[in-house]
């Protein structure tokens, strides 16, 4: 009879008991986990409530969300045409009812006659005419210094007549008497500048300038000033940029059109004062509605008036030099072709060497291999 060893039976029993205890502990832990992490029961009515309580707008309707695959072909094409592919997963109501904010332009008010009269009565050397005190004192001083510096170095001086953002010039106003009529008498320009609205700035130039400069060039100048001012958002910075660009462009104008020079001061004799005076020179306005292309376009006027004569002269000179050089080379070649070279007379009385009557072994030899 076969005998089971007692130790082996004991070890089997002990292992079985340990296995049962592990299984029991695992079941207890899973029960605890199930008890503390119970999943919520999903109900259909809670769906809309949870969406309605979120960040969705009040007029959100989830039924309007249409998957792109469910769209018909016509709708799909229309969606592509509208280029709103990124809106496919958003309700259309969010964007269909949106309306662009209508910018309400404030009604412009004409500047008062007193302010205009104050501008006319301003001294002739006033650069920044601000009868209403719109610009701050420090900014006014800065702009005045800049314009004074410009007038000291340029022939065409610049002056600013400042308006408020909601103001405009009265229709048909005569600006020739602004700053005691000093602008219209010489070569200068006057900028009627509504502070904060550079797009409504108006540029007036004296006839001394407008009769020498092409209108296209002046429109380009004005448009460049307007566009440079619109790059800034601060009204004072806009004004500074406008003035800086205007000064730069006026220097360019002088270079392009050297005929623009200040009128020489004429001493009025007492005898001439009795004669009827000439009509007062007026200012001509230049449109500021030029396009960007006209600003960036190559200035043919400058090219034609400054560089074209020199380029033509240079090309003509180069052509002349090339023609002369070619003729000289051809003459030299023909001359060389017709030239023969005669050696000096040979003295036949030389003694013969090596018995040679014509050659005395005067030579050289090399090995090249």
């Amino acid at each position: 009879m076969r005998r089971f060893p007692i130790a082996r039976v004991c070890s089997i029993v002990t292992g079985w008991i340990a296995l049962q205890s592990i299984v029991l502990q695992t079941e207890v832990r899973s029960e605890k986990a199930d008890r503390f992490l119970a999943l919520p029961q999903w109900e259909e009515r809670d769906h809309l409530d949870s969406l309605g309580a979120g960040l969705w707008p009040d007029d959100f309707n989830p039924a309007l969300i249409i998957h792109p695959a469910m769209l018909s072909k016509g709708e799909n094409d229309a969606a592509q045409v509208a280029d709103d592919s990124w809106l496919r997963f958003l309700p259309r109501s969010l964007f269909s009812n949106r309306k662009a904010h209508e910018t309400i332009e404030p009604a412009l008010v004409d500047i008062s006659a007193e302010a205009l009269r104050a501008g006319e009565n301003a001294p002739g050397n006033t650069r920044v005419i601000d009868p209403q005190g719109i610009l701050g004192e420090a900014q006014t001083e800065d702009l005045t210094r800049f314009l004074v510096f410009h007038s000291e170095n340029a022939n065409v001086e610049a002056r600013f007549f400042l308006l408020d953002v909601g103001q405009q010039l009265p229709p048909g106003v005569d600006l020739s008497q602004i700053a005691s009529g000093e602008i219209a008498r010489g070569s200068g320009c006057l900028v009627v500048y509504p502070l904060g609205a550079p797009q409504r700035a108006r540029l007036f130039l004296s006839q001394n300038v407008t009769r020498c400069v092409e209108a296209n060039y002046l429109e380009t100048l004005a448009a460049a000033c307007r566009l440079d001012a619109q790059k800034a958002s601060d009204p004072v910075e806009q004004l500074q940029r406008f003035a800086t660009q205007l000064s730069t462009r006026l220097f360019w104008l002088e270079r392009a059109f050297p005929a623009v020079k200040p009128e020489p001061a004429v001493v009025v004799l007492p005898a001439l004062e009795a004669h009827p005076q000439e009509p007062v020179p007026t200012l001509s306005e230049v449109s500021l509605t030029g396009s960007v292309q006209s600003v960036e376009r190559f200035s043919f006027a400058v090219f034609r008036q400054r560089w074209l004569p020199w380029i033509g002269l240079g090309l003509t000179g180069a052509l002349l030099v090339a023609t002369i050089a070619i003729m000289f080379v051809r003459w030299l070649r023909r001359r060389r072709r017709q030239t023969v070279w005669i050696l000096p007379d040979y003295d036949h009385r030389q003694p013969m060497r090596f018995g040679g009557p014509h050659c005395g072994a005067c030579g050289a030899t090399v090995k090249y291999g």
Partner: protein
């Protein structure tokens, strides 16, 4: 040496390519260069000999022999052997020799000739014979020009022959003078006096 080779005259050509080292167009180019040299230097004559020399004869000896026994053909201007220049190339012995007559010894001394030959060693080593010959001719012409006197061709040489003058236009003397075909007198031609 002169006694060893006798006293017979050797009729010389401008280019003697006995070794056939030059292609046809190369030979024509070299010939044109030599003709051009003779036109600009009516007193001089340049002869080039390319050939395998016997072991008993070296290139310098052959050039000496050519200059003393050579018979040059003078077309418009008398050309003396004293004004001749001989260039001998031996492609087998890979030797080049350049020799001048008595009249050119002061203009082209051996030192200058040695320099001219030394400058063409590379093209000769590459078997570029035509460029080497052209270079030698041009260098000789440049050296001679320094001591020569320039003159207009019409003052030195006789006018070109009528056939040569009309050759460029494709016309011939007979076309302009039909009486020549009949054996008549050409003086009756209106075009040719």
């Amino acid at each position: 040496m002169m006694a060893a080779f006798g006293s017979d005259l050797i009729p010389l050509r401008r280019l003697w390519d006995e070794a056939h080292c030059l292609r046809v167009h190369e030979a024509r180019e070299v010939e044109a260069v030599l003709v051009n040299f003779e036109e600009h230097y009516p007193q001089l004559y340049f002869s080039v000999y390319i050939g395998e020399l016997p072991p008993t004869l070296t290139a310098i000896e052959l050039s000496f022999l050519l200059l003393n026994r050579g018979l040059f053909w003078a077309e418009h201007h008398p050309r003396l052997n004293e004004h001749a220049i001989a260039l001998v190339l031996d492609p087998v012995a890979r030797t080049a020799a350049l020799m001048v007559g008595y009249a050119l010894e002061e203009i082209l001394p051996p030192r200058v000739l040695q320099r001219i030959l030394r400058n063409v060693r590379t093209p000769l080593w590459h078997a570029e014979y035509a460029p080497a010959i052209t270079s030698v001719v041009n260098e000789v012409a440049r050296t001679v020009r320094k001591v020569a006197r320039g003159a207009l061709r019409r003052d030195v040489l006789p006018p070109a022959a009528i056939e040569e003058f009309l050759g460029g236009s494709g016309a011939s003397r007979q076309m302009l003078d039909p009486d020549m075909e009949d054996g008549g007198d050409s003086s009756h031609s209106r075009l040719l006096p």
